[in-house]
Protein backbone atom coordinates (compact mmCIF):
# COMPACT_ATOMS: atom_id res chain seq x y z
CA UNK A 1 0.00 0.00 0.00
CA UNK A 2 2.89 2.33 -0.73
CA UNK A 3 1.28 4.16 -3.64
CA UNK A 4 0.16 7.60 -2.46
CA UNK A 5 -3.61 7.99 -2.29
CA UNK A 6 -5.93 10.98 -2.03
CA UNK A 7 -7.83 10.45 1.17
CA UNK A 8 -9.87 12.04 3.92
CA UNK A 9 -8.10 12.52 7.27
CA UNK A 10 -10.60 10.45 9.24
CA UNK A 11 -10.42 7.51 6.84
CA UNK A 12 -6.65 7.69 6.58
CA UNK A 13 -6.38 7.50 10.38
CA UNK A 14 -8.62 4.45 10.48
CA UNK A 15 -6.55 2.69 7.83
CA UNK A 16 -3.37 3.62 9.73
CA UNK A 17 -4.75 1.98 12.86
CA UNK A 18 -5.33 -1.23 10.90
CA UNK A 19 -1.79 -1.09 9.54
CA UNK A 20 -0.52 -0.73 13.11
CA UNK A 21 -2.27 -3.98 14.01
CA UNK A 22 -5.35 -2.58 15.67
CA UNK A 23 -8.05 -5.25 15.43
CA UNK A 24 -10.61 -3.85 17.87
CA UNK A 25 -12.47 -0.63 17.31
CA UNK A 26 -15.23 0.55 19.62
CA UNK A 27 -17.03 3.81 18.99
CA UNK A 28 -20.18 5.84 19.04
CA UNK A 29 -21.09 8.29 16.26
CA UNK A 30 -20.49 12.02 16.44
CA UNK A 31 -19.64 14.64 13.80
CA UNK A 32 -16.96 15.45 12.61
CA UNK A 33 -15.35 12.01 13.11
CA UNK A 34 -18.08 9.73 11.72
CA UNK A 35 -15.90 8.57 8.83
CA UNK A 36 -13.69 6.74 11.36
CA UNK A 37 -16.38 4.32 12.58
CA UNK A 38 -17.89 4.14 9.08
CA UNK A 39 -14.54 3.10 7.61
CA UNK A 40 -13.85 0.68 10.46
CA UNK A 41 -17.27 -0.97 10.07
CA UNK A 42 -16.33 -1.86 6.50
CA UNK A 43 -12.64 -2.68 6.91
CA UNK A 44 -12.50 -4.49 10.29
CA UNK A 45 -14.42 -7.56 9.03
CA UNK A 46 -12.11 -7.67 5.99
CA UNK A 47 -9.00 -7.96 8.21
CA UNK A 48 -10.60 -10.34 10.72
CA UNK A 49 -11.01 -7.69 13.40
CA UNK A 50 -13.94 -6.50 15.47
CA UNK A 51 -15.95 -3.36 14.85
CA UNK A 52 -18.50 -2.62 17.51
CA UNK A 53 -20.76 0.38 17.72
CA UNK A 54 -21.17 0.72 21.46
CA UNK A 55 -24.30 1.95 23.21
CA UNK A 56 -22.43 5.04 24.41
CA UNK A 57 -19.01 6.68 24.55
CA UNK A 58 -18.61 5.46 28.12
CA UNK A 59 -19.20 1.90 26.99
CA UNK A 60 -16.77 2.28 24.07
CA UNK A 61 -13.82 3.39 26.20
CA UNK A 62 -14.52 0.58 28.67
CA UNK A 63 -14.47 -1.90 25.78
CA UNK A 64 -11.03 -0.53 24.87
CA UNK A 65 -10.10 -1.09 28.52
CA UNK A 66 -11.29 -4.69 28.29
CA UNK A 67 -9.46 -5.40 25.04
CA UNK A 68 -6.27 -3.84 26.46
CA UNK A 69 -6.45 -6.02 29.57
CA UNK A 70 -6.37 -9.02 27.25
CA UNK A 71 -3.35 -7.64 25.38
CA UNK A 72 -5.07 -6.53 22.17
CA UNK A 73 -4.42 -3.35 20.23
CA UNK A 74 -7.65 -1.38 20.52
CA UNK A 75 -8.87 2.07 19.63
CA UNK A 76 -11.80 4.38 20.10
CA UNK A 77 -12.49 7.73 18.50
CA UNK A 78 -14.88 10.56 19.12
CA UNK A 79 -15.18 14.31 19.10
CA UNK A 80 -15.06 16.71 22.04
CA UNK A 81 -18.33 16.06 23.93
CA UNK A 82 -17.83 12.33 23.41
CA UNK A 83 -14.23 12.54 24.61
CA UNK A 84 -15.45 14.24 27.79
CA UNK A 85 -17.60 11.18 28.44
CA UNK A 86 -14.58 8.89 28.00
CA UNK A 87 -12.47 10.62 30.64
CA UNK A 88 -13.41 8.29 33.46
CA UNK A 89 -12.31 5.30 31.40
CA UNK A 90 -9.06 7.00 30.39
CA UNK A 91 -8.27 7.71 34.05
CA UNK A 92 -8.93 4.04 34.89
CA UNK A 93 -6.66 2.94 32.03
CA UNK A 94 -3.90 5.27 33.20
CA UNK A 95 -4.32 3.96 36.76
CA UNK A 96 -4.18 0.34 35.56
CA UNK A 97 -1.33 1.14 33.15
CA UNK A 98 -3.16 -0.08 30.09
CA UNK A 99 -2.24 0.78 26.49
CA UNK A 100 -4.89 2.08 24.12
CA UNK A 101 -5.37 4.74 21.47
CA UNK A 102 -8.00 7.45 21.72
CA UNK A 103 -8.60 9.76 18.76
CA UNK A 104 -10.21 13.16 19.33
CA UNK A 105 -11.37 15.04 16.22
CA UNK A 106 -12.03 18.24 18.12
CA UNK A 107 -15.11 20.41 17.50
CA UNK A 108 -16.23 23.70 18.97
CA UNK A 109 -17.22 23.83 22.63
CA UNK A 110 -18.09 24.14 25.47
CA UNK A 111 -21.14 21.89 25.72
CA UNK A 112 -22.45 20.51 22.45
CA UNK A 113 -20.88 23.61 20.85
CA UNK A 114 -20.81 23.20 17.11
CA UNK A 115 -19.27 20.88 14.54
CA UNK A 116 -16.59 23.30 13.29
CA UNK A 117 -12.90 22.58 13.78
CA UNK A 118 -11.44 23.66 17.11
CA UNK A 119 -8.45 23.20 19.43
CA UNK A 120 -10.35 23.97 22.60
CA UNK A 121 -9.68 20.56 24.16
CA UNK A 122 -6.01 21.42 24.80
CA UNK A 123 -6.31 21.63 28.57
CA UNK A 124 -8.48 18.54 28.72
CA UNK A 125 -5.94 16.62 26.63
CA UNK A 126 -2.73 17.76 28.28
CA UNK A 127 -3.86 18.24 31.88
CA UNK A 128 -5.60 14.94 32.40
CA UNK A 129 -9.28 15.42 31.69
CA UNK A 130 -10.18 12.68 34.10
CA UNK A 131 -9.51 12.47 37.83
CA UNK A 132 -6.27 11.68 39.60
CA UNK A 133 -2.56 12.23 39.09
CA UNK A 134 -1.99 10.86 35.62
CA UNK A 135 -0.73 11.74 32.16
CA UNK A 136 -1.65 10.70 28.65
CA UNK A 137 0.72 11.11 25.74
CA UNK A 138 -0.82 13.57 23.27
CA UNK A 139 0.19 13.54 19.60
CA UNK A 140 -0.85 16.45 17.38
CA UNK A 141 -0.66 15.90 13.60
CA UNK A 142 -0.95 18.83 11.18
CA UNK A 143 -1.42 17.02 7.85
CA UNK A 144 -3.33 13.94 6.76
CA UNK A 145 -0.02 12.22 6.14
CA UNK A 146 1.11 12.96 9.68
CA UNK A 147 -2.25 11.73 11.02
CA UNK A 148 -1.33 8.36 9.52
CA UNK A 149 2.20 8.28 10.92
CA UNK A 150 1.28 9.47 14.39
CA UNK A 151 -1.69 7.10 14.64
CA UNK A 152 0.66 4.20 13.87
CA UNK A 153 3.20 5.54 16.38
CA UNK A 154 0.46 5.98 19.00
CA UNK A 155 -0.06 2.21 19.22
CA UNK A 156 3.68 1.62 19.67
CA UNK A 157 4.07 4.28 22.36
CA UNK A 158 0.98 2.97 24.15
CA UNK A 159 2.53 -0.50 24.29
CA UNK A 160 6.01 0.81 25.12
CA UNK A 161 4.80 2.66 28.21
CA UNK A 162 1.58 0.77 28.97
CA UNK A 163 -0.26 4.06 28.85
CA UNK A 164 -3.19 5.53 26.92
CA UNK A 165 -2.16 7.72 23.99
CA UNK A 166 -4.37 10.47 22.62
CA UNK A 167 -4.21 11.57 18.99
CA UNK A 168 -5.51 15.13 18.87
CA UNK A 169 -6.73 16.51 15.55
CA UNK A 170 -9.74 18.62 14.58
CA UNK A 171 -12.69 18.74 12.22
CA UNK A 172 -10.69 20.33 9.44
CA UNK A 173 -7.97 17.67 9.42
CA UNK A 174 -10.56 14.95 9.83
CA UNK A 175 -12.70 16.13 6.92
CA UNK A 176 -10.14 17.36 4.40
CA UNK A 177 -8.69 15.22 1.64
CA UNK A 178 -4.98 15.27 0.92
CA UNK A 179 -2.34 13.00 -0.56
CA UNK A 180 -1.15 10.39 1.86
CA UNK A 181 1.44 7.64 1.68
CA UNK A 182 0.91 4.71 4.02
CA UNK A 183 4.27 3.62 5.35
CA UNK A 184 5.32 0.03 5.73
CA UNK A 185 4.56 -0.76 9.42
CA UNK A 186 8.02 -2.27 10.02
CA UNK A 187 9.66 0.79 8.48
CA UNK A 188 7.45 3.14 10.49
CA UNK A 189 8.56 1.47 13.73
CA UNK A 190 12.14 2.36 12.80
CA UNK A 191 11.62 5.89 11.48
CA UNK A 192 8.62 6.95 13.60
CA UNK A 193 8.41 7.91 17.26
CA UNK A 194 9.27 4.35 18.37
CA UNK A 195 12.75 4.85 16.85
CA UNK A 196 13.36 1.12 16.43
CA UNK A 197 13.07 0.29 20.13
CA UNK A 198 11.78 -3.14 21.14
CA UNK A 199 8.36 -3.32 22.73
CA UNK A 200 8.30 -4.90 26.20
CA UNK A 201 6.90 -8.43 26.61
CA UNK A 202 3.23 -8.57 27.55
CA UNK A 203 3.87 -10.32 30.86
CA UNK A 204 0.95 -8.62 32.55
CA UNK A 205 -2.07 -9.42 30.36
CA UNK A 206 -5.05 -11.41 31.60
CA UNK A 207 -5.16 -14.34 29.23
CA UNK A 208 -6.21 -17.17 31.55
CA UNK A 209 -3.81 -18.40 34.27
CA UNK A 210 -3.61 -22.09 33.45
CA UNK A 211 0.00 -23.11 34.15
CA UNK A 212 1.00 -19.80 35.71
CA UNK A 213 0.16 -17.77 38.78
CA UNK A 214 -2.84 -15.43 38.52
CA UNK A 215 -2.40 -11.76 37.62
CA UNK A 216 -4.43 -8.83 38.77
CA UNK A 217 -5.10 -5.50 37.06
CA UNK A 218 -6.82 -2.83 39.11
CA UNK A 219 -6.77 0.84 39.97
CA UNK A 220 -8.33 0.45 43.42
CA UNK A 221 -5.43 0.40 45.91
CA UNK A 222 -6.80 0.58 49.44
CA UNK A 223 -3.84 -0.70 51.50
CA UNK A 224 -2.35 2.24 53.42
CA UNK A 225 0.43 3.81 51.35
CA UNK A 226 -0.15 1.57 48.32
CA UNK A 227 -1.73 4.24 46.14
CA UNK A 228 0.91 6.80 47.02
CA UNK A 229 3.59 4.29 46.07
CA UNK A 230 1.75 3.58 42.82
CA UNK A 231 1.58 7.31 42.07
CA UNK A 232 5.34 7.67 42.63
CA UNK A 233 5.86 4.72 40.28
CA UNK A 234 3.72 6.45 37.64
CA UNK A 235 5.63 9.69 38.20
CA UNK A 236 8.89 7.92 37.32
CA UNK A 237 7.30 6.61 34.13
CA UNK A 238 6.03 10.06 33.20
CA UNK A 239 9.47 11.57 33.84
CA UNK A 240 10.98 8.98 31.51
CA UNK A 241 8.38 9.83 28.83
CA UNK A 242 9.19 13.53 29.21
CA UNK A 243 12.89 12.78 28.69
CA UNK A 244 12.46 10.40 25.78
CA UNK A 245 9.40 11.35 23.77
CA UNK A 246 9.25 15.13 23.46
CA UNK A 247 9.11 16.15 19.83
CA UNK A 248 8.65 19.38 17.86
CA UNK A 249 9.15 20.63 14.32
CA UNK A 250 11.25 23.77 13.88
CA UNK A 251 11.65 25.91 10.77
CA UNK A 252 14.08 28.84 10.68
CA UNK A 253 13.76 29.54 14.40
CA UNK A 254 17.39 30.22 15.29
CA UNK A 255 17.67 33.70 13.77
CA UNK A 256 14.00 34.61 13.53
CA UNK A 257 12.58 38.08 14.27
CA UNK A 258 9.50 36.31 15.59
CA UNK A 259 8.58 32.69 16.19
CA UNK A 260 5.08 31.58 15.23
CA UNK A 261 4.13 28.89 17.76
CA UNK A 262 1.21 26.63 17.01
CA UNK A 263 0.20 22.98 16.69
CA UNK A 264 -2.06 21.01 14.34
CA UNK A 265 -4.25 22.96 11.92
CA UNK A 266 -3.12 26.32 13.34
CA UNK A 267 0.49 25.37 12.61
CA UNK A 268 -0.12 24.53 8.97
CA UNK A 269 -1.90 27.86 8.51
CA UNK A 270 1.03 29.55 10.28
CA UNK A 271 3.36 28.00 7.68
CA UNK A 272 1.53 29.93 4.95
CA UNK A 273 1.76 33.07 7.10
CA UNK A 274 5.50 32.48 7.46
CA UNK A 275 5.87 32.58 3.68
CA UNK A 276 3.75 35.75 3.48
CA UNK A 277 5.86 37.45 6.18
CA UNK A 278 9.03 36.40 4.36
CA UNK A 279 7.76 38.17 1.25
CA UNK A 280 7.36 41.29 3.41
CA UNK A 281 10.96 41.03 4.63
CA UNK A 282 10.11 39.61 8.07
CA UNK A 283 12.02 36.55 9.25
CA UNK A 284 9.43 34.40 10.99
CA UNK A 285 10.21 30.99 12.41
CA UNK A 286 7.81 28.14 13.07
CA UNK A 287 7.84 26.16 16.29
CA UNK A 288 5.33 23.32 16.16
CA UNK A 289 5.04 20.88 19.06
CA UNK A 290 4.23 17.41 17.75
CA UNK A 291 3.89 15.98 21.25
CA UNK A 292 1.67 18.26 23.37
CA UNK A 293 2.36 16.13 26.40
CA UNK A 294 5.21 15.86 26.89
CA UNK A 295 5.53 19.50 25.83
CA UNK A 296 8.87 20.64 24.36
CA UNK A 297 9.53 23.14 27.18
CA UNK A 298 13.32 22.85 27.08
CA UNK A 299 13.77 23.49 23.39
CA UNK A 300 11.39 26.42 23.37
CA UNK A 301 13.22 27.86 26.40
CA UNK A 302 16.52 27.57 24.52
CA UNK A 303 15.04 29.48 21.60
CA UNK A 304 13.81 32.19 23.98
CA UNK A 305 17.46 32.97 24.77
CA UNK A 306 17.87 34.21 21.20
CA UNK A 307 14.39 35.35 20.20
CA UNK A 308 12.22 37.72 22.22
CA UNK A 309 9.07 37.89 20.07
CA UNK A 310 6.58 35.05 19.84
CA UNK A 311 3.13 34.78 18.37
CA UNK A 312 0.94 31.96 19.63
CA UNK A 313 -1.83 30.87 17.27
CA UNK A 314 -4.53 28.63 18.65
CA UNK A 315 -8.14 27.74 17.84
CA UNK A 316 -8.99 28.15 21.52
CA UNK A 317 -9.09 31.01 23.98
CA UNK A 318 -5.60 31.10 25.46
CA UNK A 319 -4.96 27.48 26.51
CA UNK A 320 -1.89 26.51 24.49
CA UNK A 321 -0.22 29.87 25.24
CA UNK A 322 0.13 28.84 28.90
CA UNK A 323 2.61 26.12 27.95
CA UNK A 324 4.53 28.56 25.75
CA UNK A 325 4.72 30.98 28.68
CA UNK A 326 5.85 28.20 31.04
CA UNK A 327 8.59 27.29 28.56
CA UNK A 328 9.82 30.83 27.96
CA UNK A 329 9.76 31.58 31.70
CA UNK A 330 12.37 28.87 32.24
CA UNK A 331 14.90 31.13 30.53
CA UNK A 332 13.67 34.70 30.78
CA UNK A 333 11.32 36.88 32.72
CA UNK A 334 8.07 37.21 30.82
CA UNK A 335 8.62 40.98 31.06
CA UNK A 336 11.61 40.67 28.72
CA UNK A 337 9.73 38.72 26.06
CA UNK A 338 6.66 39.66 24.09
CA UNK A 339 4.29 36.76 23.53
CA UNK A 340 1.32 37.73 21.37
CA UNK A 341 -1.81 35.63 21.04
CA UNK A 342 -4.12 35.05 18.10
CA UNK A 343 -7.00 33.09 19.59
CA UNK A 344 -9.98 31.88 17.54
CA UNK A 345 -12.47 30.03 19.76
CA UNK A 346 -15.84 28.47 19.02
CA UNK A 347 -15.00 26.95 15.65
CA UNK A 348 -13.18 29.97 14.22
CA UNK A 349 -10.20 29.21 11.97
CA UNK A 350 -7.50 31.88 11.44
CA UNK A 351 -6.36 32.77 7.92
CA UNK A 352 -2.70 33.23 6.98
CA UNK A 353 -3.43 36.94 6.40
CA UNK A 354 -4.75 37.30 9.94
CA UNK A 355 -1.68 35.59 11.40
CA UNK A 356 0.72 37.72 9.35
CA UNK A 357 -1.06 40.92 10.41
CA UNK A 358 -0.96 39.96 14.10
CA UNK A 359 2.72 39.01 13.84
CA UNK A 360 3.52 42.48 12.53
CA UNK A 361 1.73 43.97 15.57
CA UNK A 362 3.89 41.92 17.95
CA UNK A 363 7.10 43.09 16.26
CA UNK A 364 8.69 46.36 17.42
Amino acid sequence: MNRPVFMKGNEAMAEAALLAGCRYYFGYPITPQNEVPAYMSRRMPEVGGVFLQAESEVAAINMVFGAAVAGARAMTSSSSPGISLKQEGISYMAGCELPGVIVNIVRGGPGLGNISPSQADYWQSTRGGGHGDYRTLVLAPHTVNEMVELTMDAFDLADLYRNPVLVLADGLLGQMMEMVRFPDPIEQRKTGLLRGRDLPPQDWTLTGCQGRSPRLIRSLLMKPGALEEHNFHLEKKYALIEREETKAEEIDCEDADIILTAYGTSARIAKSAQIMLGEQGIKAGIFRPITLWPFPYNRLAELARRVDRFLVIEMSLGQFIEDVQLAVAREKSLKQVKIGLLARPGGGVPTPEEIAARAREVLP
Partner: protein
Amino acid sequence: MLKQIVIAGSGGQGIQFAGQFLARSAVRQGLEAIYVPNYGAERRGGPSYCSVVVADGPIYAPVFAQPDVLIAFDQRARNQYGALVKPAGLILTNSDLGAQKVEGEQARVVSIPASSLGDEVRPGTGFNLIMLGAFLALFSGIETKIAEEVLKEQCAKKPGTLEVNLQGLAKGAEIIRQGE
Protein backbone atom coordinates in the same frame (compact mmCIF):
# COMPACT_ATOMS: atom_id res chain seq x y z
CA MET B 1 1.28 28.58 -8.97
CA LEU B 2 -1.25 28.35 -6.16
CA LYS B 3 -4.99 28.58 -6.83
CA GLN B 4 -7.55 28.81 -4.07
CA ILE B 5 -10.91 27.79 -5.43
CA VAL B 6 -14.37 27.97 -3.89
CA ILE B 7 -17.16 25.88 -5.36
CA ALA B 8 -20.51 26.91 -3.97
CA GLY B 9 -24.19 26.36 -4.64
CA SER B 10 -26.99 24.34 -3.12
CA GLY B 11 -27.24 20.86 -1.66
CA GLY B 12 -28.11 18.36 -4.40
CA GLN B 13 -26.24 20.20 -7.18
CA GLY B 14 -23.18 17.98 -6.81
CA ILE B 15 -20.84 20.53 -5.27
CA GLN B 16 -18.86 18.03 -3.17
CA PHE B 17 -18.61 15.59 -6.07
CA ALA B 18 -17.29 18.42 -8.25
CA GLY B 19 -14.76 19.54 -5.62
CA GLN B 20 -13.37 16.06 -5.13
CA PHE B 21 -13.23 15.55 -8.87
CA LEU B 22 -11.23 18.77 -9.33
CA ALA B 23 -8.79 17.96 -6.53
CA ARG B 24 -8.31 14.35 -7.67
CA SER B 25 -7.72 15.50 -11.24
CA ALA B 26 -5.08 17.98 -10.09
CA VAL B 27 -3.31 15.31 -8.08
CA ARG B 28 -3.42 12.88 -11.02
CA GLN B 29 -1.91 15.62 -13.15
CA GLY B 30 1.04 15.67 -10.74
CA LEU B 31 0.03 18.85 -8.92
CA GLU B 32 -0.57 19.19 -5.20
CA ALA B 33 -4.18 19.57 -4.08
CA ILE B 34 -6.39 19.55 -1.03
CA TYR B 35 -10.16 19.42 -0.80
CA VAL B 36 -12.10 20.72 2.20
CA PRO B 37 -15.85 20.02 2.30
CA ASN B 38 -18.45 21.67 4.40
CA TYR B 39 -19.90 18.91 6.51
CA GLY B 40 -22.44 17.81 9.02
CA ALA B 41 -25.55 19.77 8.18
CA GLU B 42 -25.97 19.11 4.47
CA ARG B 43 -29.45 19.02 3.04
CA ARG B 44 -30.97 19.27 -0.40
CA GLY B 45 -31.55 22.92 -1.26
CA GLY B 46 -29.49 24.30 1.64
CA PRO B 47 -26.21 26.09 1.01
CA SER B 48 -23.37 23.79 -0.01
CA TYR B 49 -19.74 24.75 -0.26
CA CYS B 50 -16.30 23.28 -0.65
CA SER B 51 -12.84 24.64 -1.17
CA VAL B 52 -10.03 23.23 -3.27
CA VAL B 53 -6.46 24.42 -3.30
CA VAL B 54 -4.29 23.46 -6.28
CA ALA B 55 -0.58 24.26 -6.45
CA ASP B 56 2.66 23.18 -8.07
CA GLY B 57 4.37 23.18 -4.66
CA PRO B 58 3.51 22.34 -1.07
CA ILE B 59 0.14 23.51 0.25
CA TYR B 60 -0.02 24.52 3.89
CA ALA B 61 -3.10 26.54 4.83
CA PRO B 62 -6.39 24.82 3.94
CA VAL B 63 -8.21 28.13 4.53
CA PHE B 64 -7.89 31.54 2.91
CA ALA B 65 -9.39 35.01 3.13
CA GLN B 66 -9.86 35.64 -0.60
CA PRO B 67 -10.26 32.96 -3.25
CA ASP B 68 -8.64 33.20 -6.68
CA VAL B 69 -11.61 31.47 -8.23
CA LEU B 70 -15.30 31.22 -7.40
CA ILE B 71 -17.36 28.62 -9.21
CA ALA B 72 -20.88 29.78 -8.31
CA PHE B 73 -23.62 27.31 -9.16
CA ASP B 74 -26.41 29.76 -8.28
CA GLN B 75 -27.15 33.35 -7.31
CA ARG B 76 -27.05 32.73 -3.56
CA ALA B 77 -23.48 31.44 -3.87
CA ARG B 78 -22.48 34.38 -6.02
CA ASN B 79 -24.06 36.81 -3.53
CA GLN B 80 -22.17 35.21 -0.68
CA TYR B 81 -18.70 34.86 -2.20
CA GLY B 82 -18.55 37.05 -5.31
CA ALA B 83 -17.12 40.14 -3.63
CA LEU B 84 -14.47 38.09 -1.82
CA VAL B 85 -12.75 36.94 -5.00
CA LYS B 86 -9.37 38.61 -5.64
CA PRO B 87 -9.58 41.41 -8.24
CA ALA B 88 -7.24 39.45 -10.53
CA GLY B 89 -9.32 36.31 -10.02
CA LEU B 90 -12.17 34.61 -11.81
CA ILE B 91 -15.87 34.17 -11.14
CA LEU B 92 -17.46 31.41 -13.14
CA THR B 93 -21.24 31.56 -12.92
CA ASN B 94 -24.27 29.72 -14.15
CA SER B 95 -26.24 32.40 -16.02
CA ASP B 96 -29.46 30.35 -15.71
CA LEU B 97 -29.40 30.61 -11.92
CA GLY B 98 -26.93 33.36 -11.07
CA ALA B 99 -26.77 36.10 -13.74
CA GLN B 100 -26.99 39.11 -11.43
CA LYS B 101 -23.84 41.06 -10.74
CA VAL B 102 -23.03 41.47 -7.06
CA GLU B 103 -21.88 44.71 -5.47
CA GLY B 104 -18.15 44.68 -4.81
CA GLU B 105 -17.34 42.03 -7.40
CA GLN B 106 -14.04 42.97 -9.03
CA ALA B 107 -12.90 39.75 -10.65
CA ARG B 108 -13.45 38.79 -14.28
CA VAL B 109 -16.83 37.08 -14.70
CA VAL B 110 -17.41 34.22 -17.12
CA SER B 111 -21.05 33.20 -17.43
CA ILE B 112 -22.33 30.04 -19.04
CA PRO B 113 -25.92 28.76 -19.25
CA ALA B 114 -24.99 25.62 -17.37
CA SER B 115 -28.49 24.47 -16.42
CA SER B 116 -29.73 24.64 -20.05
CA LEU B 117 -26.60 22.91 -21.30
CA GLY B 118 -27.12 20.20 -18.70
CA ASP B 119 -30.67 19.67 -19.91
CA GLU B 120 -29.34 19.34 -23.47
CA VAL B 121 -27.19 16.41 -22.32
CA ARG B 122 -30.10 14.75 -20.58
CA PRO B 123 -32.98 16.62 -18.95
CA GLY B 124 -32.79 16.75 -15.16
CA THR B 125 -29.30 15.29 -14.77
CA GLY B 126 -27.66 18.38 -13.34
CA PHE B 127 -24.89 20.67 -14.45
CA ASN B 128 -21.98 20.28 -12.05
CA LEU B 129 -19.76 18.67 -14.66
CA ILE B 130 -20.69 21.38 -17.18
CA MET B 131 -19.33 23.96 -14.73
CA LEU B 132 -16.21 21.92 -14.09
CA GLY B 133 -15.65 21.27 -17.78
CA ALA B 134 -15.79 25.03 -18.35
CA PHE B 135 -13.43 25.69 -15.46
CA LEU B 136 -10.89 23.13 -16.68
CA ALA B 137 -10.97 24.76 -20.14
CA LEU B 138 -10.25 28.15 -18.52
CA PHE B 139 -7.65 26.82 -16.08
CA SER B 140 -5.81 24.66 -18.64
CA GLY B 141 -3.48 23.13 -16.02
CA ILE B 142 -5.21 19.72 -16.17
CA GLU B 143 -5.41 17.61 -19.32
CA THR B 144 -8.84 16.47 -20.50
CA LYS B 145 -7.67 12.85 -20.71
CA ILE B 146 -6.66 12.90 -17.04
CA ALA B 147 -9.92 14.53 -15.94
CA GLU B 148 -11.85 11.85 -17.83
CA GLU B 149 -9.88 9.08 -16.16
CA VAL B 150 -10.61 10.49 -12.72
CA LEU B 151 -14.29 10.91 -13.59
CA LYS B 152 -14.47 7.25 -14.60
CA GLU B 153 -13.08 6.22 -11.22
CA GLN B 154 -15.34 8.55 -9.31
CA CYS B 155 -18.43 7.24 -11.16
CA ALA B 156 -17.44 3.60 -10.60
CA LYS B 157 -20.06 3.14 -7.88
CA LYS B 158 -22.83 4.43 -10.15
CA PRO B 159 -21.76 3.39 -13.65
CA GLY B 160 -25.00 4.73 -15.15
CA THR B 161 -23.88 8.28 -14.41
CA LEU B 162 -20.56 8.12 -16.26
CA GLU B 163 -21.77 8.80 -19.79
CA VAL B 164 -23.78 11.94 -18.95
CA ASN B 165 -20.97 13.22 -16.77
CA LEU B 166 -18.41 12.75 -19.55
CA GLN B 167 -20.73 14.51 -21.99
CA GLY B 168 -21.26 17.35 -19.49
CA LEU B 169 -17.53 17.78 -19.03
CA ALA B 170 -17.03 18.00 -22.81
CA LYS B 171 -19.94 20.39 -23.26
CA GLY B 172 -18.68 22.76 -20.57
CA ALA B 173 -15.25 22.89 -22.20
CA GLU B 174 -16.76 23.33 -25.65
CA ILE B 175 -18.78 26.43 -24.69
CA ILE B 176 -15.64 28.11 -23.37
CA ARG B 177 -13.67 27.30 -26.52
CA GLN B 178 -16.50 28.66 -28.68
CA GLY B 179 -16.42 31.89 -26.73
CA GLU B 180 -12.67 32.36 -27.12
